[in-house]
């Protein structure tokens, strides 16, 4: 298998077959919470792609060069969550200084990302699947893309849903859950897709 095919297979797996939100149940809070408007969904998605890729880079480095050589693997959870929290803070400060326009559109979402379990999830999964450095970065990137894809799809559906007649008890969250179920059903169709 040449290099390009490998990357392609990784992308398909992370975006569709093993979609973080619909198949692995990671990052549901923003998926339900920030999917009311299309542009905020897109903003959140971009912020998550960025942070997930960065988190994959740093947690891989910490795991390989700090935790394993010093036999500190049991500190993984603490080390990773602190890395992610400080990373998010750092990214927020850098964006605020260098790109105020971008900060305006992403700013409100950044603090929320620390408690997004998809970020910690991708970091731990990278370790468990024993990816190499490039693999870990790509996995983080594509998992973020998959998250953004379903988030934007959901926002599109929910914008139209505002004008639909929904039974009063099902308005808001309950109907969003049912729609997510429908989407997950559709994504089950990707299962077994292999290259």
């Amino acid at each position: 298998m040449n290099y390009f095919t490998q990357i392609f297979a990784l992308a398909i797996a992370a975006i569709f077959v093993q979609n973080f939100v619909l198949m692995k149940f990671l990052g549901l809070c923003p998926y339900i919470g920030v999917s009311k408007k299309l542009d905020s969904a897109l903003g959140m998605g971009m912020a998550v792609i960025f942070v997930m890729t960065m988190a994959s880079v740093f947690t891989w480095l910490i795991q390989t060069y700090l935790l394993i050589p010093f036999r500190l693997e049991y500190l993984q959870t603490i080390a990773f969550i602190l890395t992610i929290a400080s990373l998010v803070q750092l990214v927020e400060m850098i964006i605020q200084k260098t790109a105020p326009a971008l900060y305006k559109s992403l700013g409100v979402f950044l603090p929320l990302i620390t408690t997004n379990c998809a970020v910690l999830g991708v970091a731990i999964l990278n370790v468990q699947s024993e990816y190499n450095f490039i693999g870990a970065i790509l996995n983080g990137l594509f998992a973020g893309v998959g998250f953004t894809l379903v988030l934007v799809m959901m926002a599109g559906v929910r914008e139209r849903l505002d004008k639909a007649e929904v039974p009063p008890a099902m308005k808001g969250m309950p109907i969003a859950m049912i729609i997510a179920g429908g989407m997950a059903l559709a994504f089950l169709g990707f299962a077994g897709l292999k290259f």
């Binding site: 969550i81 969003a176 179920g181 089950l188």
Partner: protein, 193 residues
């Protein structure tokens, strides 16, 4: 005093009413055993992090309180992770990724911020137990529905009639979303009355 304990079950149920901790709720409820395992693990972390945080609340500067809470929570999650790995390897394996992810479960950080950082130790313990059991209760309800519909079993025992064909979809990912959506709708309906 007792109210701090009972409020977690129905009135302020973290899952059904406040919609916190959705990821583990949907991910681990494909069977009742997993649901109980997850619920008790989260309860343990919740109670102990509530104790520690209510004890040290006066020493933490307000500006860095969230990272401080996260470190406390992460330590207890690590303990749970290692204990379950040693004594309950089967459940540890099927919960997998979601044990370390208890760290980012919004219920625990939410109780630390909203309750333990403002109340004394005894109240915080009761609150931790109440919320933890409320979470476990919600998980068991969802897990029960999914296991009965999807496998025709409850806690591994056959409960449906013999010609019952299990609806496989209920224990797959879509079933989790649909059952959760319907339960939330039911709660809303009850609240409206």
């Amino acid at each position: 005093m007792l109210r701090e304990f009972t409020k977690g079950f129905i009135k302020e149920n973290p899952v059904f009413v406040m919609a916190l901790g959705l990821c583990p709720t949907l991910a681990v409820t494909s069977s009742v055993v997993n649901a109980i395992g997850m619920g008790l693990a989260a309860t343990f972390v919740l109670v102990f992090s509530n104790i520690i945080i209510s004890l040290i609340k006066d020493f933490i500067p307000t500006k860095i309180r969230i990272p401080a809470y996260i470190v406390v929570i992460a330590s207890f999650v690590t303990i749970v992770d290692m204990v379950m790995h040693a004594y309950l390897p089967a459940i540890h394996k099927s919960l997998g990724l979601f044990i370390p992810l208890i760290v980012v479960n919004c219920i625990i950080l939410g109780r630390a911020e909203a309750f333990a950082s403002k109340n004394n130790v005894l109240k915080s313990i009761l609150d931790g137990f109440g919320m933890g059991f409320g979470f476990t209760f919600a998980l068991v309800v969802i897990g029960g529905i999914r296991e009965v519909l999807g496998a025709g079993q409850f806690l591994g025992m056959n409960v449906m009639w013999t010609s019952y064909k299990p609806m496989l979809v209920a224990i797959l990912a879509p079933g989790a979303f649909i059952v959760m959506g319907l339960l939330m709708g039911l709660m809303n309906l009850k609240k409206k009355k």
